[in-house]
Symmetry: D2
Subunit: 437 residues, 4 copies
């Protein structure tokens, strides 16, 4: 069996032990022989802490995998088979700004939904397109598996602007399946559903549990407050039961940012006033305590505390998709991939998040047909925002950037869009080579 | 030349003298011989006042037209060629409720945009579909020219649910052409532009003045505050100049409700606090003073004060379109008509407002192609709201009604949608035969 | 595990032993407990011969399955889980007429391609829609697995005109995979390809062998005459090598009827003159010899000679698809199912033949995107023929029937279409209840 | 009023006097002050004969227009407003080859339909794209009005591969309107109909005569043999009456080549055997006699014999469209222009022939919606042929050329396509710079 070289960009991330754990557990079907963790100079300390833990984990597992740490992209990429990304340009400090600036104007401050997603995309897309150019040189046939948020927007930029084969991954759909499984007391593998939408904006129907259609039943459970999807990092605010019944679809918990916009913004402002800090500030604290654990030279496995950051399913999602490509399994997974007509209600080249057959040629979305009218407009308007966001990230055109922010359904006025943009560009000056500032 | 019978439903409206004036001025090309004004029992007094004025106007003009007043639909419709509608189910009292209820929750209170358009559609659509059934009996080949707001939604309901041939009319596009003409000191006839969107949500480009392309020039004028479209009934709040330059399209002034939502709601709330009253309350006062004028038995022409209500262009728009059908002129007018592929970004059966060739077979929209991404999402999300609004108005299904309100981009939360719906249904109990309340 | 009841309409077909053999071999994963063979009164003798063989086969296998023979649809359908169809209305005598009548006018005489497909559809669709109505009564949740040709047209009629869940099956794609496997000396399971088109009009690309992309390699093999797909019942005429290279797709061997129309017709005429008989006449002889074998009371397995009829792969195709539904496997199979946007170049409700994920909710086609322009026009024109053929079969409208035949790309003139239709209707008088003849 | 400079490429064509006549008659609304006739060196003699006649015609008319003759493109194009083309690369000799080569193999030999259209496009497109490059230098804002056949294919090549604004013109639709007018004894201006399709492959419905819907009535007339469109250069073979009734559309007479392929080919072969010559050979004789007339120095107007060539309506069609652009008239004309969504059944960038509003921004097709299924497949398959033909003409790729010919519905086999291509390329060696031969 061919040996596998995997590279992770942003290797110093606190999530890395999850990934390592996944590769260790799947080593039989996915025989990774070289695993390269890459990070930038500024992230070297974290890279070394995480890398040492990774090496201890591999050693304890007793498998034939070597873990390499480097800040040099060229040696990491040479001959790679899969490259995964989990970078955070500007680190958590930038995220905290992304969150706080919109809140100044009474607008949602969140990492991926609302203006925050726009800003993160502007910082991230140029870096990942640079990575793609390096991949064209050093590993043109490798797959780029993008975890980096906003995963849908970033994947659309990659699909439109690079020949490198890529797909975007998020654990959202898996968390929904897990919650359905929980509601019925079965295993996650016993659950299947049809998912459609954009990253962090997905809806499920055709829910089957052990081969039995239970969509209506689960919708009623949801309406009654049982089995609601609670991504760890989203405050517990509920949708009105009659709205869920009317919708007849199971919305990812992120939909609260759209369906309960006013309440969520209010919640965020209260948190700020109470000194709880934004989600980014909380993450900073969690990260610190995680790295304190990682430093312990006796730790040889991923610590339980890691799942508290809400990414526990990422590892499973990523490793099983990589395995489906590598082993040409033709399994169905929910990924971010170009629409290609899956729904005629979105452009053919728009990246969507939907059930796709994964084989050695990548992701083949299942045809979905027309979007339900109840969610069509929301999905379409966010997709227009995303198209404009990608275009702005590529061109650095401030008019396009303004149109993007103004097009977001959570931005209540063009004047406010203009103010947020002004503050964002000023605060991110160092990370925006494409803009003339 | 064949004699023409025209019927106006809601004949007691204060706008009727405009229409009469239009028919008088075009009598040569549009030889209306019988003009029937119809109204309900409750509107009889106004019908008689307006009708008497109409008869005096016709007499003074010395043309061969008889004006009939009636509350009986059957005798009015028998053998009619054109039926126009300008009804207001529940009268201005209902409008004022439509405006005030959303404002309770900090949501735009406006006649056609936002929740107000939803509520007006629920009251209006059943009445107009009843009219269509009568037309099938008494004048199955007549054209229904719908002025009644929300004109786009109502026309979509008619197109989807009745075989009667109809099209929807609004003076918005004409007001934009007039304002362009004003900016260049030319006549309205010298101006042409391509318009696309939904009723009260349209954008223009390909602006030509005397056959010369001046789109960029006019956009810059707009950005500099010259030539802005000011529909009389919209407060003067401006879009940021850079947003206009980025947009590269000329938006109808109603777009302020979307692009400056927060500011417009603030403005409405201040008006309420200052006791200025909603736009509906102001209209009540204007209407009273208009009818005081109409009562004057020496008045034989439409009074100048009439144009203050913002509908001065309706008459021209309506009469010229009716003439283009009657005389098979193949002129280009902006009307509300089913998309039929004009833009692939909206459903084929969605009613849009766009340039259409008008001949004896009705409206044939020009192919527009893809919507500009800067406005695509907004138009699509409002269209989803409109689709749901039509479905709710037909079925009286409260779940669908909730989905409709929740889908509107100006409603900031599903909880608020639920409250507005509850209050709306309670307040409109008498006008909603399709709902089980 | 739930017991399974399977019903086969046209149970007296010579193919039935293949199916029985398939169910026996898969009994573990597909525990058919009752298998009902149904046929019409006229087919009773054949039903009894085949049924007795089936019972002997089951007995020898020693599994818990009972085989029932009946001419009563109601008792067969009651509580059924799957219904398969392999009927031939008018039997082989009708097929022979289907073949000979077009040849009178120099037009292809073939069972499913060309006018023959039209005529078979006119006879078959009413019978299968009657079956569906019975299924609504006796087994509304059962799946209808349609083998009956023309499988694509018939499945489109079922999907458009019945609520019964159905999908259409053909062994064509499997035969292509088998031939690819043969060319590389691997197992059929090692081969996967993407298939798109209409029944008997499919093209493959993205050919992978053991997970390796070999499309270009296989196309060159084809051009050089290696590995060509030779469905047993198609004379061996080759496509020009440069055409195959230009096409860059692997066409099903049936494509010869389109790409070498003149040569194939010539071939058929020579056969007739040489007294070889049409394919239908040859089948009559094969069938006779098959039934001679089946009558042998010592025969307890399907005879090797059966595969000579060209349907050897049917059993595998059918059983594995039924199992994928029953066991909710989410495997990828090539089936006939409504397009639903899989390719925007065909109507959403058009039945296509393409790779689909099969689970307990049925077939979910993979999104394919735009058709390659090299084959787009051919596929679209045959689909128009199919749409008209379905409409004619439902309505019995002779104008529509004429339009259908005239729309077929292999019919060289409307005058000839008219003559073929006249002769066809005269010859099939007994099988066309929907027509007024 | 701005003076107008018009240039005609292929000015030595026998049709030129028609155009001159048109410009003279419309001089008031279309004040052409300079009219340049351009031809190649080999056409100089004809250019001088036609040019002298043109100058005599203008002199007699006494209008302010100068007629210039030149073989230099640069001086002709400098500052031009409109450029029309009526070139014939390889002259009638090439046309005669286009006709005779397919007939060798029993395939239609015709100037624009069938393989002939393919071959003419290969010779013509490179020349016209060269012209466009010159226009970019000397008159980048001029309109290119393309008469050159195959008009639809050529216009698609221009639209896809040049920024010069162009539209394609054919008199076919006008001839249909004229024939309708003839059938009702009214003027051509009294007739209007909706037309859809591709050049020389159009269908009409919504036929109105003096504002009255008469589609069904005219279809019945057609079925009864009255009012059939008889383009002069098409032999009189009739469609079966029941087919016309079934179609419910009025097909251009060129449709006989598709609907009566076998009969038309038979007819052509008989003509060849009888020594009548192909249509190209007949044209050669007509052209000779026309130029004999043109040489007469006393002739000062277009001779009556000119209309015998079947292009009598070209002049009216062209001049009225040029005037609609120049005067921003917004009239409806049938032209060849990119689809842009007019029908979703063809690609957005496919050139179609349909009713379009013509203003100073060019052609705006009316939205047509879905194509009638009776003609959809034929139109789509010819469009695929056209797409491939354009691609082959641009790239000179012989594989693409083979796919194009093989895709044509009138080519009965890929082997024959290969032979025709081989013979065509050999015979046209001198006119195919894009091919490596």
């Amino acid at each position: 069996m061919k040996k596998l070289k995997v590279v992770t960009l942003g290797g110093g991330s606190g999530y890395t032990p999850e990934l390592i754990d996944g590769f260790i557990r799947r080593h039989k079907e996915l025989p990774v022989s070289e695993y390269w963790l890459v990070d930038i100079e500024a992230g070297k300390e974290k890279l070394e802490i995480v890398g040492a833990l990774a090496q201890r984990m591999v050693k304890k597992a007793g498998i034939a995998m070597t873990v390499h740490l480097t800040t040099r992209l060229d040696e990491a990429l040479a001959g790679a088979d899969f490259v995964t990304t989990q970078i955070r340009v500007g680190q958590l400090a930038a995220r905290i700004q992304d969150e706080k600036i919109p809140l100044r104007y009474g607008v949602l401050g969140q990492e991926t939904t609302g203006p925050g997603g726009f800003m993160k995309a502007q910082r991230t897309i140029p870096v990942l397109l640079d990575l793609c150019q390096e991949m064209e040189k050093y590993c043109p046939d490798a797959w780029l598996i993008n975890f980096t948020n906003p995963a849908g927007i970033v994947t659309e930029a990659l699909a439109k602007h690079s020949p490198i084969r890529s797909l975007g991954i998020c654990s959202g759909a898996n968390s929904m399946m897990r919650d359905i499984a929980g509601a019925y007391g079965v295993e996650r593998e016993d659950v299947y559903a049809r998912v459609m939408g954009l990253n962090h904006l997905i809806f499920a129907d055709q829910i089957t549990v052990k081969g039995k259609e239970l969509t209506d039943d689960f919708i009623e459970k949801l309406a009654q407050g049982v089995g609601a999807n609670q991504l760890n990092n989203i405050p517990d605010v509920g949708l009105p039961p009659d709205f869920i019944r009317a919708l007849k679809l199971y919305p990812l918990s992120y939909l609260k940012y759209f369906y309960l916009d006013r309440e969520m913004v209010e919640h965020e402002r209260e948190d700020l006033e109470r000194g709880v800090g934004t989600r980014g500030e909380q993450s900073l604290a969690i990260e610190k305590s995680l790295f304190d654990l990682y430093r312990d030279p006796t730790l040889c496995e991923k610590p339980a505390a890691l799942s508290a950051r809400g990414g526990a399913l990422y590892s499973d999602t990523a490793c099983s998709i990589i395995s489906s490509i590598y082993n040409n399994k033709r399994e169905i997974h929910v990924v971010n991939t170009p629409n290609q007509g899956s729904t005629p209600d979105l452009p053919d080249d728009a990246v969507i998040e939907t059930n796709s057959m994964i084989d050695c040629n990548g992701a083949h979305p299942l045809a979905y047909g027309r979007l339900p009218v109840a969610v069509k407009g929301l999905i379409q308007s966010v997709k227009s925002f995303e198209e404009l966001t990608v275009e702005a990230a590529i061109t650095g055109n401030q008019h396009t950037a303004l149109l993007a922010l103004a097009a977001h359904p959570l931005v209540p006025s063009v004047e406010i869009a203009e103010k947020i943009l002004r503050d964002y560009l000023a605060a991110n000056r160092d990370f925006l080579p494409q803009y003339t500032l």
